[in-house]
Assembly symmetry: C2
Homo-oligomer: 406 residues x 2
């Protein structure tokens, strides 16, 4: 179809960034399935385009072949909670996730089962259920070593497990107790360093920060239960999409059952959104995406390091260089958070000190650590980060001009 | 801008059904917030269009006013799990849900709190948590009267409550025990009739079928906890969106906390999708939508009634007329399911009988009832329903020509 220059201009005035997406959506909707099936954007592909998924007793490339006789049954049991292949998880999306890990080199997915959840958060409790022993009248014991992500504790209270600090538990209990479940966030929240278990028994690895924009990737993670999310990969925290890679079939069955019984699988809209996001992430082998993320975080850490170097009142976490397989260089971590410490004896409530300087962070006690620490989120917009730098510079300048408390 | 007929044709060749949606999306994205904020499709509206939601310390209609001094703080604690108004639930969507119930007249939302969940399913367990007494070391007791939706039982096993049949429990326990929680599905699953509690204490009403396409609407439901979902309203079961209307503030706080701790709120993509769906439902006061749904279900029931009238081997549930305030007429229910009974003594496994006739339904025992019953889903596509009718007609014709078992 010839579109003259004037026509093209008129057409372009209407749409810009959405053109590709909308053309794709209309093209898939226009695939003829003879009125006896549908093709979907996130459906199985053949010959480069989604195939028709036919209704019961219809078949053929365009669902035009009707076979009512013989063994063809009409299913009036199921509803649209399931994809056509009887799963609750998009096969296309699963494929992209495995491709992503292979490309980044941050997790071994070979022989691992995959379960989707409503964010990594939902998978934490699903994984506890998956690893718990069968005796359901005793609540599970769940531990983590401080500082740890506060939801480990909050969820345990809600779902009736017993939560304890990992080091305390270790001091007070026999190492023969194999039923206790440990959460390990690695790279850690809030500090960003690689972390190992205290107990070494049943362990759930929360690896949501294990991406090149936050940390060197020295080797693929190879744990029995590894949890990731889109929130810390692309920033789409509101989309609520996470996934667990699970080695053991029985554990996988239990985790999968948990998600099914808790909410009949996660939203198909969410899965489609995640698929689209991953397609963008994986363009050009992920280089543009991860380079942008890493450069941004690295620049932010350079600016932070400069300002904290001028301070004796405040310090941030030490960062040690490691080799990164993804960028093929030795580099410093560029963690998602600054874990700020107030160094003066009198500054026991560091959150209050920063708040007086118009910075709202998360106090150390949120992570079951000392309130001398505050966690600052470095993943926000340029405006927010620039404002943070401005406030930090003001605080440090004030510190250097006077020693009295603000 | 003048668009000549030829241009319009060229433009129209590209897009059809998506034009309105994509124009809306691009228009919102083009709203200028000076690079210091964003407007969203599901954001708060002023003067008929979404307003700019500004980053910290920026303000004004277009976020161009920067106020870094004084009390303006930079928030480096939160992430995008929240909308700009600090909630996890879309205010626009909440508004539309209340409007929907007011229009249909199926629930009293006055003074009720609203909580969103990942389908009604997630809200069932959230509501049990909300109504449970504080003593968390004792599992809650949850009951329902057979036949009941199987997930009531499945969830209890998973979340460590004790589940029992309501009538058995009543026979064996004192009515002074006010801690037991009862699920009532009304209109019921599978039969479609209005149902009342056995115990009359703490009750969670699963009202997902309480829409004009399934049942007369004699009066708005006015219960303490009422759960609805998009699945049975529009058929978008895969979207996974449900809501609970809750009277008591303490119960609401607990249910809200459960959703927050279980998964940091539900997907924003899901909420946007639900908003768009409700906008369509509510067009022209809901008439086109609900008339289409009701006419479809009524026609299906007329066809079903005809075929079962010819059968002595199979029967379906009785339906009694009631006045409907929405359609302002007395009408029969047109339930989501046929609850088929095998009447012959030897047909103890009705599912097997139907399966031999190439119909897959859900056996009665799924709902803790007799396997003489089978539930058939009447909410499927026209193709599926036509195929069901064909199979039923074959079964009944065979029954009338010979009395031997197939």
């Amino acid at each position: 179809m010839y579109i003259g220059r004037e026509n093209k201009q008129n057409e372009e005035i209407g749409l810009s960034w959405s053109k590709k997406a909308v053309a794709e959506a209309e093209a898939v909707a226009a695939i003829s399935c003879s009125g006896h099936g549908r093709a979907f954007l996130d459906g199985p592909i053949s010959g480069g385009q989604p195939i028709c998924e036919c209704y019961d007793c219809y078949s053929g490339v365009d669902c035009s072949e009707f076979s009512p006789a013989g063994s063809c049954v009409v299913d009036v049991e199921r509803m649209s909670y399931w994809y056509n292949d009887d799963t609750m998880m998009s096969t296309e999306l699963e494929k992209y996730i495995r491709q992503l890990h292979s490309l980044v080199g941050n997790a071994n997915t070979e022989g691992r089962y995959l379960v989707f959840g409503l964010g990594a958060i939902q998978l934490l409790s699903a994984a506890v259920y998956g690893l718990s022993s069968q005796n359901s009248s005793s609540p599970s014991t769940v531990v983590a070593s401080a500082p740890f992500y506060q939801f480990f504790k909050y969820q345990s209270v809600l779902f009736n497990s017993n939560f304890e600090d990992a080091n305390s538990w270790k001091s007070n209990n026999s190492s023969d107790d194999t039923d206790v479940i440990e959460f390990v966030t690695s790279p850690s929240n809030p500090g960003g360093e690689f972390k190992t278990p205290v107990l070494g028994g049943k362990t759930i690895y929360d690896q949501v920060y294990f991406w090149p924009h936050f940390t060197p990737v020295p080797a693929p993670s190879d744990q029995d239960v590894m949890i990731f999310s889109i929130s810390k990969l692309t920033g789409h925290a509101g989309t609520r999409f996470g996934w667990a890679l699970i080695k053991d079939k029985d554990v996988y069955d239990k985790v999968s059952t948990y998600i099914k019984v808790a909410d009949l699988g996660i939203s198909k809209d969410t899965q489609l959104r995640a698929l689209k996001l991953l397609k963008v992430v994986l363009e050009d082998d992920g280089r543009p995406f991860f380079e942008f993320g890493y450069n941004t975080m690295r620049d932010r850490w350079e600016r932070l390091t400069l300002v904290f170097a001028k301070s004796s009142r405040f310090s941030i976490q030490q960062r040690d260089p490691l080799h990164c397989n993804f960028f093929n260089e030795t580099r410093l971590p560029s963690p998602a958070y600054a874990w700020v410490k107030c160094e003066r004896d009198e500054d026991v409530d560091c959150g209050a000190v920063l708040e007086a300087g118009n910075i709202i962070g998360s106090s150390g006690s949120t992570f079951s650590d000392d309130d001398r620490y505050v966690r600052l989120n470095l993943m926000k917009s340029h405006d927010d980060f620039n404002l943070l730098m401005q406030r930090l510079n003001e605080l440090v300048a004030h510190e250097n001009s006077t020693h009295e408390t603000m």
